[in-house]
Symmetry: D2
Subunit: 134 residues, 4 copies
């Protein structure tokens, strides 16, 4: 269990959105970054490696963007809502793209099926946070 | 809930350590990185900001090192155990240092009390993985 | 001198944009990420620390987003242009925001004057890459 | 040209080491992180992809560790020298390992030859900083 909820509850100021939607996004971003790192590594070990190149590349992008978004979304102090919004939109785009690519491999690679779930959940959580930013 | 366990179970090769100890480290690293980002942000909003400078700096270091270690530990393919070991040792050092600093502020800042927990758990999980690497 | 130009010249495929505009963006992103990390650290050491909170926060965001964008823009294989575009737009937004904040402090803090330069150059290089993506 | 030297000169406190050795390490870390990202991407596009798996993995590790080390080494305020030292040792280990692997492929892949240079220079710069930390 992450500490995100407890830390938001302890924040000595006003949150950028409701705590529930923030925690959902923070946990989904954190889990998606790790899933993409692990899925790219799983891909490297597959026999059909040449077929997995796009998946590896998009997983790498998705991990990088989720990690940056996790940082920006976790911080509540002195926010620039325009920046948060633009980054969440980029994160939605990469989660959608990576999720679609993982879906193509899901029937034959269990790790891609799991990573697709992580991407879909993260895309959805970022969309909900976009709608809830104050 | 993270996908770390499912993804390790789906890995098409030999793991670097038992799945249980790997999952514990992966989740602790992920949670500690986020807790440190959030705690540094909480510190920025405190009235005794000048007293929190060391805490902010160590939280930033701890977040950076945990994020890198999360990547290295999540990957199972073509590992270099010497590299993993050296990085886990650096991660133990920064979690110890950051946890100690947070402990100093825990009596008056709830967010530092929570971040200390995250650092202690991560330090312990990295130590256990160090003892279990094959 | 970075290796970006040599590595693009050695890439065994088609680049996402002209090598010149790619190299300019890669070097500007790399330099801006480092400048923001250093400027936030300089801020922590200033006597008017309470005035620097917004600068510290935006520098942290800018460093995180530039680091992610550096990764996505450096990779040429199996790109998703929509993702690259959305992320470059987020990077333009954060470089603009961080540059504006640094400009406010530039008259009394030399490090903010330098960091503003890094942000302005990076914003411009990302805009040019946005116009040159194929 | 990076802003590292100018920013260290503008730092309103005592540096962790001589400015020259700090700048050399900062620039080498930044360049090595980017070179490893680019080299792994180049590898993904090669026809002998199956032979490049170890190189891709070590480049990914090396990029992650260099990025974290860049952050820790760039910050001068409220340092923990034990942490810096442990992380520099991990960085030396991964640069050595990644440089050795790139060297194996240097005769047939120009991008690995370039990445090897970046790793060797970074390993050396980290060793020199280790010897110069105060």
């Amino acid at each position: 269990m992450s500490y995100a909820r407890q830390l938001l509850d302890a924040y000595p100021g006003t949150l950028n959105a409701g705590a529930g939607v923030l925690v959902a996004a923070i946990d989904a971003l954190s889990d998606c970054a790790q899933a993409c790192i692990a899925d790219a590594d799983d891909d490297l070990r597959e026999e059909d490696l040449a077929e997995m190149v796009t998946c590896i590349r998009l997983c790498w992008d998705c991990a990088d963007v989720c990690t940056a978004t996790l940082g920006v979304v976790s911080r509540q102090t002195a926010r620039d809502t325009g920046v948060t919004r633009a980054l969440l939109e980029a994160c939605v785009a990469v989660c959608k793209s990576c999720g679609d690519e993982c879906e193509r491999h899901a029937p034959h690679h269990e790790h891609c099926r799991i990573c697709e779930q992580a991407c879909r959940r993260c895309e959805q959580a970022c969309r909900e946070l976009l709608g809830a930013l104050t």
